[in-house]
Structure formats: C-alpha cells, structure tokens
Subunit: 279 residues, 4 copies
Amino acid sequence: MNELINKEWKLHTHGLVRVVDLMGGDDAVVQMARCSYGEGTKTVNEDRGLIRYLMRHRHTSPFEGCVVKLHLKMPIFIARQWVRHRTASMNEYSARYSEMRDEFYVPQTDYVQIQSKANKQGSEEAGLDFKTQLDFANYTEYSAQEKYTGYKDSLDQGIAREMARINLPLTVYTEMYWQMNLHNLLHFCSLRSDPHAQREIRDYSDIILHEVIKQWCPLTYEAFMDYVMNADTFSAQEMTILKRKLNPNDDKTIYEMDEYNGLSKREQDEFLKKIGRSV
Amino acid sequence: MNELINKEWKLHTHGLVRVVDLMGGDDAVVQMARCSYGEGTKTVNEDRGLIRYLMRHRHTSPFEGCVVKLHLKMPIFIARQWVRHRTASMNEYSARYSEMRDEFYVPQTDYVQIQSKANKQGSEEAGLDFKTQLDFANYTEYSAQEKYTGYKDSLDQGIAREMARINLPLTVYTEMYWQMNLHNLLHFCSLRSDPHAQREIRDYSDIILHEVIKQWCPLTYEAFMDYVMNADTFSAQEMTILKRKLNPNDDKTIYEMDEYNGLSKREQDEFLKKIGRSV
Amino acid sequence: MNELINKEWKLHTHGLVRVVDLMGGDDAVVQMARCSYGEGTKTVNEDRGLIRYLMRHRHTSPFEGCVVKLHLKMPIFIARQWVRHRTASMNEYSARYSEMRDEFYVPQTDYVQIQSKANKQGSEEAGLDFKTQLDFANYTEYSAQEKYTGYKDSLDQGIAREMARINLPLTVYTEMYWQMNLHNLLHFCSLRSDPHAQREIRDYSDIILHEVIKQWCPLTYEAFMDYVMNADTFSAQEMTILKRKLNPNDDKTIYEMDEYNGLSKREQDEFLKKIGRSV
Amino acid sequence: MNELINKEWKLHTHGLVRVVDLMGGDDAVVQMARCSYGEGTKTVNEDRGLIRYLMRHRHTSPFEGCVVKLHLKMPIFIARQWVRHRTASMNEYSARYSEMRDEFYVPQTDYVQIQSKANKQGSEEAGLDFKTQLDFANYTEYSAQEKYTGYKDSLDQGIAREMARINLPLTVYTEMYWQMNLHNLLHFCSLRSDPHAQREIRDYSDIILHEVIKQWCPLTYEAFMDYVMNADTFSAQEMTILKRKLNPNDDKTIYEMDEYNGLSKREQDEFLKKIGRSV
C-alpha cells in the first residue's frame, strides 16, 4: 500500500493520475464487514470468500471503509464529466486565484473519430480519413495557443483572472485533489470504464480501476470484475426466455418465443449480444 | 406558489432562471418541524416565530422538506462553479448527444474589471479604462463566433460531437434542470450571493434568493436574511473584546486591548469592518 | 397525483404510511431526461420507451426529479433499519421534547418464526408451534405495558423525558416525516422489499413500492419491476456457462462444465435457483 | 498520528471510542487547500495562518481531505441520535445475524436529572433527591437484566434473533465501525458537544473533539475552537445594537434602544447572555 503512494501515471498531452494518500484496503473491507457479524479475523481464503459474497450481494457499506485521495490533471471537458460524481471530496486549482498554465489537450489522431449513428452520444472507430483527423488535431493545438496568447494579453491589460479565462477553450488543463471511498469509486469506474463513456475519461477510469484499485485492493478488484464489470443483467422478460431455453422439453428457438418477440428491436439486439450471438 | 411555476428571469447574454416545479413552502417547514414536537397547527404569527427559531438555532432539517426544480441556462465557466454544490439533482444538456447552440456569454463592459490586489481571487470596480473593457467584450464575442464556425466545420467533416466541442470556449452556454432542497439552496445562496463570489454567478444566486425564495417562502427568506446573510460571527478572541467594551468599568479603547493586538492585521481589519468602523 | 396526497395505509399494531406531498411523476422523469437530449414532448408510448431505456441502462438522474414526503409510524427496531438509508430528509418525533405514547408493536403469531439455519440473519416459516408463537406475542405485549408504566412513573417523579425513555423497549412506536427522491426510493425498495429484509420493514417497503410508487409513477414502476426487481444478474463465470448452453454445438450438461464446477457450492445453488432449477 | 491508532477511551457502563484508522491531518488540510492556489509547501506558521483563514471563512472542502474511522460502543438510545448524521460510512453489529450481548447502559446517579422547564428537550441539574436518582438507576439495571433473561429464553425456544431482540430496552449496547471526514466530524461535534445535546452523546462527542481531533489535527482543533465552538453569531438586528453601542456619540443604553425592544423576549435573553450580561 505504501508503494502506491506518490505513484503516478501520465496520459494524453498533460494528463496525470497520482496517488496522494490511501486509507484501508482489502483487510479493512473484511474488518468492517465482520463488525456486523461480531466475528474476529479469519484466513486469507475466507477473506476472499467474504469479499466476493459482499460484492455479489451488493453489501456495499464495508467498501466505504477504504478511501483514496488522487492528484489529477485533466482538460476541462473531462473535468465537467468527472464532477458529476457527487460523492467525492475535491479541491480544484482556481483560475480566479491563480494564472492558468499553458497546457492544453491535443488528441492523438486515432482519437478523432466519426459521429456514431447507432449511438447518438458516441463515436465510431472507422470512417474518418487520416487527413481529417490530423487537421482536427492541428486545429485544436493552434486554436489553444491562439487563445492562450489572448488570455495572456488580457492579463497584461490588467483584466481580472476570473474574467480573462472565459475565452479559454475546454481543452485547457485543470488539476485537483480528488478523494472518494472505494464503494463510490467502483461505481465511478463501472460508469466511466464502460464503452459508452467518452474515450478520454475512460482512459483515466481505466488507470484508476486496472492500476490503482487492482494494486490497492486485489481481492475487491477481482470480485468487482467478476460480479459487476463482466457480469450481465437480464430483465424479467429475458429471464423467462433463459429459463425456457435452459430447461429441457422446450424445443422452440429463441426467435420463436413470444417473450422474445415481445421485446423491442433494441432489446432483442441487446439480449442476443449478451448471450454471445451475433445480432 | 402556483404563480411561481414557469415564471422566468433572463439575465446576461442568454442566461435563464425558470421555476419548473416546487414542493412545500413556509407551511411545510413548520409542519415538518412540528412533527418533532408532536404538535398540530398554530397561528401564522407562531409559524413566523417557529421559523425564526429554527433558523437562529440552525435546526436545518425542516427546511429540507421544501424542494425546487429550476431550468437554468448559463455559460460553462459559471456551470463549473455551480456543480461544486453536490447536494443537487441535475440533468444537463449533453454536448455528446446534441449539437451545441450558437449561444455565448459576452460581458457588459462594466463587468470587465481590473484584477484585485487585496482579494487575489476577485476583481475591483475601478481602474480599467472603457476602451480596454470594450475591446475585451468585442474580443470575447469575436472569439466565440470564430470558434463556433470551427465547431460547425468539424461537425460537417463528420467528426463526433463529443470531440468537435472541445475547442469551444468557456463562454458557451449550457442548460440544465437543477433541483435542490431549501436548506441546501439557502447554503448555496449564502456562498454565491456573497461579495466574494464571481459577479456572474452572484447574479444568478441573487435571482434565486431575492426573487424565487422570497416569493416562495417569505418567512424563511426574512429569517435567513436576518440570521444568516446579514448576521455576523465573532471569534472567541473578538467576543472577549466585545464583552469588555459592552460592559461598564472598562475604559480602554479597542486599540489598547491585548485581545485586539493579538489578532492578525487581517483579522483586525475584518473585526473593525464588522462593527462598522473604517479600517 | 392529487388523489394520492393524504392517502394512508395502516399496518401491524399501530403502523402508518401516509403520503404528505409529492413532486413530479413519470412526466417529470421524461422531461428531465429530455433536457439532456434537447428534445421536446413526445407521445405517451415514446415516454414509456424512454423510461424503460433509462431504467435498463441505469440512467438514474432523471428519477431524482421526483420527490415524495411520507408520514410514517413504525416501531424503533424498524426505524433503526430505516434510517440507514442516508439520502433521505427526515424529522422524527422527539422523545426528549415530548412524551412517548402508549403504542407498542405486538407481532401477529405468524410473524413469530424460528431462527433460520441457512440464512443466519433471517427466520424460517415452519418450525415453531403455535403456543410458542402466542406466548411470545403475549410476552411482548405484557412487557411493553409494564415498561410503559415504569416510564410514566419515572416522569411522575420528575425525571427528564430524555432519561425516562431509556427503559422503553424497541417495540415502542415512533413517527416521522420522511422524504426521498424516486431514484433513492427505488433503491430503498430493492433492498427492503427483498426476501432477505426483515418481514416487518418489508411490509412497509411493499406498501411504498406496490401502492405509492405504482400509483404515482406507473411507467417507472413497471420498468423497475422488469429491469430491477424481477431481473437477475449473472457473474462473469455464470455468463460463460450461459453462453455455452445457449449456443449450439455444446452437448455438455451444466453439471459437467468446468465453469460450473469452479463455482463455490453456495454460488452453484444461487445459479441453479436463478435459472429455475431445483437445487 | 500512528500513536492514535488503536488508542481507546472508555466511558459510562460499557462505552467505547477507539481509533481504528486515520487519513490525513493538519498537513493534508493545507496541502489540499494549496492545490487551489497552485502553491507549494510553506512554514508551519504559515500553515497555521492558512488553517485559521480557511476555518474563519468557511472554506470547508480542504477539511474533507482528512478521514477517521472509529470503533464505537454505545447504547441504542444514543445510536439513534448518532446515525442522524448522514455523511458517515458505518457498519453496525447486526442483532439479526448475531446474539446481543448482556451489556446495558446504567446511568450514574448524577446523570439522572429533573425535566427542564426552560428547555423542553433537556434536563436541569438540581431538583431530584438522591433516592429518586438511585432508584431510577437501580430500576434501569434491574429492568435490563430481566429483559435480557427474557431475550435468552426466546432464543432458547428457537425464536429468530431478529424477533427475539424486539423486547430489549433502548439501553442495550450496540457497536459499530463509523467513519467520517474531518469537516463533517467538526460539524457533528458542534452539534453534539453543545450544551443542548443529551449528556450521554455529549460525552462521546467531547472525547472525539477534545481527545481525538485535538491530538490528530491540533491546528484545526485550535481554529475550530476559536472560530466555531467559542464564537458567537449576532443577527442583523443585534448587529445594529452592537454598532450603536461600540461607536461613540450614542448615549442610549441597550435597554433603551428600539432595536433591542424589537427583539422577542427570548432573543433579548439570548443576546444579553452572548454579551456576558446576566439576564
């Protein structure tokens, strides 16, 4: 655990995830849970079983007994998504108090993707030619530099920092100390390491999940991957289909079942994808 | 109360505060408080006395029984301050899902102020000539238009909305449904209608406080103004000075007192200002 | 919606669930969600589809836009479970300020059950003879009356209410105003209408879910039942089994699969139960 | 800080406050605050000044960067007051899962006080004769023992733990792991170390404030005592009186001032008490 403190990961143009402080770990999850049961310490194997049981049955409070404080640097368009998670404690660099630094996000060309048609809030991997990608990256860099020059000019004219900064683009980097307990952090990762999240915030979330949490609380990490990240949920209607298919004496195909045909087209596709069939 | 629903206030370039829905009011505060006391309804005058008592003694839970949902439009640099208040429920317009509109904040010239020296995070009213103010306003408008053109070009090239928007400036307007209970809303206003808040967010907070809350919960509003907004707090050290001055048999001036001289220069100034003396 | 206000349900000895106030409903969920998409009103059928989509994909914030305030009466051993849900606003009757009333919970005989061996925190339906059940109910009633007499005696001797009440049993009724938004309330119901919850709190939760929420937000209720209450989640390991069984060319039985045999005995039983096989 | 871990304080019959884990301290408050200002480390004296500034101006977020986890044992009538503080993480001993222990609160005789007439929710120190006090303490002990015997009998008859425990009195001890950040903990102490809090919970809060926090974060403790616990707040009306009295050329006594006479009798008394005059 001590080895994690001050460990840092860099990403993107100027991005940073650094562990400032930690409290607890797998041991603390177990200890907090055992308070409910009035039990003392057990073997490591029993600890693993208990953590998996807690995760599987959504007994979330013992995971709140672990806390991590991170030092983060990210562009403002990511920070705006980040702070929607309300159960954190944070202190952010103040653009009213201090001058913003000349640090802006510029996407790698392969991050510049075409608007997805299937997913109105996302992008798709193929479809943009390299020149369009490169032009956008260059435009982003040029545009930021130009605006930073404008910002410095405004400051030179005596204009208050809080006003001068309003013309900066959403690519400008901010930094913060950000603290969350493990239960809420896992929930954060379940949303932000999801394929529907914007790729930039997903990169941060992936570091937090697959680096920080994995090293900090390996048993919790394993249970979380098995019971949340790589788990699937089936609706009441889908469960009826599953039960019919998984029990003998029913020779209808899924496609012939009333329950399947009662699903919306979108849900049919989601269902087939979950059970590993091509849509 | 019904008259308030759908009432709206416009401010700045494209700003909006609109009441979407309300729950409770002064009556609900009183009703919730009386549950603790096991008492029924009383006269209006007793209601006023009870609300003032609750406010004075920081009995905050009855004020949580009132809730307001607002429709807000504000530029992103304000939205970033706004969402720091974590006890709200909100849904914001998604720049990943929908195209951003051509709406940007442009400050009136008298909002463009000089950096304050006394208050590192603020600005001061005098000191900038009109031309500098006007130039900044024009630059802000021009700069936004230019970036909006760039944004539309990126979209035309097929670049995903979530990526194209990163070059927009912090002046771009966003909108949201935002809901908070009265206790947390009063706290919000105590911080954001404070002279240290940036003037733009203060304008929103003032509308919420002096228009929405005042009409919605007039007794609570009156008590809040008397016991919070226009109240002052004196530290242990300052209380010693006050007690010595306010009770007979002490002919020392404040400036001669050890307690006063033990304060830091900054606290001395704050103290004198609170008791209405020029610093 | 107005018809729900002041509607009340009685349960157990002196229990009460009464709707004091409501804000929002299915319409408000839809309206709040559409703010993200920048869209206006749609048909009822599209509203239903949207609510089901939000529920299925865990887009929880629009459900926070609905709020209910309830008047509740319950014994203290239930109230202690109740207040573990931290995202509520509440005001409770004060046993320091007011005298406790002569109201105590006495279980019906069929609520008096044997300690479960399988479920260490629960009870089992069969196994206690009627006389034991009746004796316990009578003992509970007698014991409460005796303690209430002791309480009144203490008060008569001038002992402060806050002290006199400490000898009352956990069956004594308290009452409160309790307010929660719909998202958190659904989560409350998912935990407290679960078979693992103690039967007494389940009775309250069932009223809130199947009476209050069902009438208040019928589309949300339907979606919640389909996608949460009657849904099932399968772990990564279980998903592997499902995919093997549901796709052709695999003639192994579940019991022969390595993935099945890798599950703990407890998880094997949970898995079989989910897919409708007897354990 | 390490010295505090596992340190414990015993109080009352079976009460316990034990430090399980800590994160942060005065240093962490300063570090988190400086993130906003973009500044590095400073001298200890500047740290003290910064912490006092943060406390005085209610900049609360840096105090959230410190977290303490406590192991607590307390009777249920205190636990019910305790859990009203919603910003904590906790896990409590489960009376459904495990058998309750034979541990009950019995007040010392001097804790048994007369009902206060001035303060409807409190007690007064003088007025009860020793025999009444002793009789109550004895009754409390006897009553608990009797109920514990009844509890054990119910368990012996096979009745589920979750049901058998309902006849236990509010004096029965429970225990929990309870975690809170420093900002919320100070708020907890400001309410529970207040003279209006019930003496039993005040004893716990005093240990947390004057022992745990004082040793853990001495600079924060000092600032909190000066700017919150021993500070006083004056309403708008009271401030008018203060300003008139503290500035020359006004020879009216407080009692002659319209502002004073405009206060309710209760507020007049509160005002006089604050400025150190007998009511």
